[in-house]
Amino acid sequence: MLRVIRRALRRLRKSTTRAPAPPRPTDLQSTEQTNAALRAQGVSIGEGCVIYSRAFSTEPYLVTLGNRVGVSGGVKFLTHDGAAWMLRARRPMAQVFGRIQVGDDCYIGENALLLPGTVIGAGSIVAAGAVVRGRFAENSVIAGNPAKAVGRASLLVELLDQGADTLDSLHLSAAERRALLEARA
């Protein structure tokens, strides 16, 4: 009996100390709270953005996101170049900075790294894990390390739309989604 109570207490402690879940895209209020907090740090954020990353570097005011930009978890915006370290003997106070600009209607995939000076044109998709530097035209799919434009985002959107794994499930609860996915397997 005592063991059962201890186990229940342990479980309760575990569930109450867990970090709060990041806002879901459907949760408009928490999304707006997140965006407001990032704006307060200086990040320029357009309307309708959903941002799961908190890594806006030491100069968040150098990052500009357009309207309706989706930023996945683990994405890092790096607004300075640490290689300035190599100048320390001749210019001990030197630092190198660069703005990062993301156009309207872009999506930045999980764990992408955006380096200083990056400009991403509207309607573009950055693939997960891409290491991005430079200017990219509108409607680009940007992938790899170093990242390159590998095609049109509008084509990738069509592939997603026609894909068998694309489900209209965002409105479902976690349990409903699980049931749907397990029924498909």
Partner: protein, 81 residues
């Protein structure tokens, strides 16, 4: 399709896929037979467009599941001018 277009498309696909030209049969499916994922596919379409100097329709290109369908789309796009 002009023989030139077909030759250019197949040569571009062979280079991108790292396969011999003679191995590229029309019935080969991009995903199931050639292991092409969506990112690979957008790159393939880009190189095909560069090789033929055509702009393929996104919706129609996304629906092309095999090499034959992509060749047919190139032909249609050429004819439509």
């Amino acid at each position: 399709m002009t023989g030139d277009d077909e030759g250019r498309v197949l040569a571009a696909l062979a280079t991108e896929l790292g396969r011999p030209l003679e191995a590229l049969r029309p019935e080969l499916r991009f995903a199931d037979d050639l292991g092409v994922d969506s990112l690979d596919f957008v790159r393939l379409v880009m190189v095909v467009e560069e090789a033929t100097d055509l702009r393929l329709d996104d919706k129609a290109a996304a629906a092309a599941r095999d090499i034959g369908a992509l060749l047919a789309l190139v032909q249609r796009t050429r004819l439509e001018g």
